[in-house]
Symmetry: C3
């Protein structure tokens, strides 16, 4: 049975027309969804949150990916570890809430008790027959990159995580994620396959028509356009953007902030891309007035006008780091046709709501943008369900990163299909 | 896989015992449901609404059949056309509401723009590589018969539509559907397979026990009974009905209203049946007092006492045309065990609510009847789900048209199974 | 196809590691769930209610097991009979509510009418072609054991029901179920496979950590513990319990109440176990103050201090009979991951609410306990869904009856798999 499915999936991969959207089964078929969970989300580094999610010893967070439940906990030595959230007795889920603070990890069912290092330390009534050392929690690979947490469910994670980490640490470190606090989190369930969520994230062709708030700070031109058909005003705007990139990058690099694009979206297992991008108007932050939302700046920053460091990873995250706050997104598949988009807004850990920042002002742009994107993903999902749907052409000017996402996805899937 | 299913479906069809209800898989099996959508709803003329649904240029209506979404729009030349509701770029659904009024058809996602004739007329940023002429909306066959709209999703629709149209136009035309207005529409989701909805519609054996409102205007006797076991009162009622038919038909025919039965329920791909039937008591309309609900009569009618022209089609519609209003029904499968029954009440386009008609009075009989039928369909669906269910016998007196529906259905299914 | 599944199920059964929880597919796989319904619930005696559910002639009750709907009715001769709840005409469900009181069984659809003995007595309009004698309701096997009702959907029920009945009648009869009344019933849907519900019921290892109310009347020690690791206080409690068992059993047997354990949980098709157990403190009833909840005692009892006669059956019931009231539970699978737990509290038929008993007081212990168990079943179900779950070891001291349940289940499944 598995063979049959693999063959058909292989055929679908093979006949894919490059530069075109994927065929409908990629967005709907339960077997391909299973392959996505097994291969893409099961064998790659998945972004799941930030160190401030588990700031103190005993803090635990639960991440569910498909049917796998992972608990991430900080131990008394401040080390962040990850385990399968499954009691070794009769399998009960250990931590049932999204977040918890615990001394040890105690199963509610029969009180089997594990240390924060996963070791089984107590199991009443089991008798001498039980080898405690064989019944510890099963570990899950976890890495922190400048405070961003990535897990890998496979026993042999891709070894190019370090390549990404070496490249990205200098970009992200100045924003000092570890000394931030989660000011707000929103979990949005988009009614579409996770790849439609990601494809939507990888282009700004749709921005001018759909994101009135985001296009205040964001230059849509930065994400491509067709120069042959652009009118005079557009070309003038594009020129303004190019000039701004040049002067800003120079200024940022001179104060120790690497800014140049790095792009490995489809040539690494742990694909990623980054670039520090100017912000329009006042140039400070992704807010409705383009000024900082939090007056206590991150890290050692004094200058609010740092634009936004954008960072994208395959398969499931994107992030914007500004001088005053960070917005960080993960996409987790729930069903073939629904996806969890989790957004966290981070501010300096000492920033006080109502004093240093206004929550509404901090979150307006991305709350609006997320909802608009969710609506687009929903009409895309409905559309591809039609038997009349056939893959259409990507714009060579504005959808190049969508193509790179698809190409990375298909390459990783093929690589791991037996 | 498909072969296996077809074989089993063929076996089910072959062993069907004529004059008996169908075996349970016909009402529940997801593969047979898929065959119903592909073959029955995918390759036959499906009734979907009326011309007044899209009365003006730019008016559009969306009809979803299975996963196929169709948009029906009237263009500036007053021509009604139908297209797949799928953008040719990345497949997004074009019209997301049931009804809309538009200038052109603009995709919300990236603003690809199509004329009301389906031609792609604008696609920003795509560059010279895009052949606009190859990326128009995909057309869907649509026909209007005296204002009733039928679509066919197949490229080669059954060619006997014209036979039906020639026969039916003289019956329906006097009611002047094109000059009506939709006074009210109700979408009811019945908890049963679409065939149980249709079977229920094709007999009145259940009327006396379940439809106290409908049996005021309707003669249940007209739908058959067993003369051998009927009591004196019943026989007298039946005689009164036969006499009424004879005199009414004569009167109606004499004023240009064809009234005789035409029956092609199981000998045409586009099966249908019609007959003008007397209404009891005041003889005017399907209302609680059997009098017209709308004082502005349809077309050129002066005489309110025209009974009701009934019209049934395979696989999915039934209609009652009276002197003052029309009630028209379509059944669309949603899942193996749910069906959308859409009811529209049409009145003269110049009739004013509150002045010419009272909406409650207009809709009472069929709102009540529809709900009662939905309840019956639900208990039938629950019943056939039991392993103890086995097909039972149809009454030769009262369920002949149910048998014809089943026989048409099985014939059409066999004809198109490879 | 069926062969493939059976083989894989056989393989799963064969490789089961005794003394360990089952592999995940047993709790989740739709094909195994189907086998559970077909084999376990389709070919064994299933506890469904009590004679007082249908106390009077014409009283009917509907029990749904999977897709099979059964109606249980008492006829005019006070005989309780069971039939498939499916009209022989077009299959409509006959009785649509859980309980009804009727003269005859009349199908709502076309008024086909059956006597309480299942015979078809009226079918209008069918004509002479219908052989009434061939269209009676299909019977279902039903047995009453001291007032407890068991049905078997198979044509050849296990013949060891009589063995259980002969053993159990003397234990249960004194509590006089037939002269009770259902004071209260609660239907709780647990979010777990029915076997997790049953496994949870078959051990009290989880009691001290989860059931603060139940452990007031109940001795958790009675369900096992590890003497090697128990502290002095625990050993002392255990001794107190053993002494109480000895003296109580003597006292109860002397007044005609059999009390000794009978255990056939995994050596009979109709597996069961019973024992009369002391109640802690005042020793009377499973209430918060361990005193009787109803002052009108059952049967001919004068002594309220009779402890609790517990009775468990495979696959789906458990019961506690006290001097003043009875609590009786059935578990019915709804989906692979949900189970209906139906609890009935019975009191003397002449007991008056508010006078002889307070409903809140009567139901507190088990309402609380049921909800706590439902929560445990839910975390167990979530846990076994994880790919990281593997069967863990049962405690040899406290989970022996869970092992017997699993062993009975697997044995019965194998026995009936072709």
């Amino acid at each position: 049975m598995l063979n049959v499915v693999d063959t058909s999936l292989k055929a679908l991969i093979k006949r894919r027309r490059s530069g075109h959207s994927l065929e409908a089964p990629f967005y709907r078929d339960p077997e391909i969804f299973k392959a996505d969970l097994d291969i893409i989300f099961g064998r790659h580094w998945i972004y799941v949150g930030v160190e401030p999610d588990v700031a103190e010893p005993g803090d635990a967070m639960v991440i569910d990916i498909g049917e796998t439940s992972v608990l991430i906990a900080r131990d008394d030595d401040m080390k962040v570890q990850a385990f399968h959230n499954v009691c070794r007795h009769r399998g009960a889920r250990l931590i049932t809430d999204y977040k918890a603070t615990v001394g040890n990890l105690v199963c509610r069912y029969h009180q089997w008790t594990y240390g924060l290092d996963g070791k089984l330390i107590f199991a009443e009534n089991m008798g001498a027959g039980l080898d405690m050392s064989c019944h510890g929690l099963k570990p899950v690979h976890i890495r922190s990159m400048a405070g961003l947490l990535f897990i890998c469910l496979d026993d042999n994670p891709p070894d190019d995580f370090d390549v990404m980490a070496r490249a990205m640490e200098p970009y992200i470190a100045p924003h000092d994620v570890r000394n931030t606090r989660i000011a707000h989190q929103v979990d949005l369930i988009e009614k579409g396959n996770w790849k439609l969520t990601m494809e939507n994230n990888r282009e700004c062709y749709h921005c001018s028509g759909n994101h009135p708030e985001l296009t205040i700070p964001l230059f849509a031109y930065g994400f491509g356009f067709n120069p042959d058909t652009a009118d005079a005003l557009s070309l003038q705007e594009a020129k303004r953007y190019d000039d701004l990139i040049a002067t800003s990058h120079g200024r940022w690099e001179s104060c120790g902030l690497p800014s140049a694009e790095i792009e490995h979206l489809d040539d690494m297992a742990t694909g990623f891309r980054t670039e520090r991008l100017p912000i329009d108007r006042d140039g400070q932050s992704q807010t409705m007035d383009t000024k900082v939302a939090c007056r206590k700046l991150l890290g050692h920053f004094n200058d609010p006008q740092l634009g936004g460091l954008s960072f994208w990873t395959q398969p499931n995250s994107w992030h914007h780091f500004m001088s005053d706050h960070i917005v960080t997104f993960s996409a987790i598949p729930l069903t073939p046709e629904t996806t969890l988009v989790r957004t966290k807004w981070l501010v300096h850990k000492d920033a006080v709501e109502g004093e240093d920042y206004d929550l509404e002002n901090l979150t307006t742009v991305w709350n609006a943008t997320n909802q608009q994107d969710a609506d687009l993903v929903e009409i895309a999902q409905k559309g591809v369900a039609s038997p009349a749907y056939e893959p259409g052409p990507y714009s060579p000017y504005t959808e190049g990163l969508v193509e790179k996402f698809c190409s990375w996805y298909l390459g990783r899937l093929s690589a791991d299909l037996v």
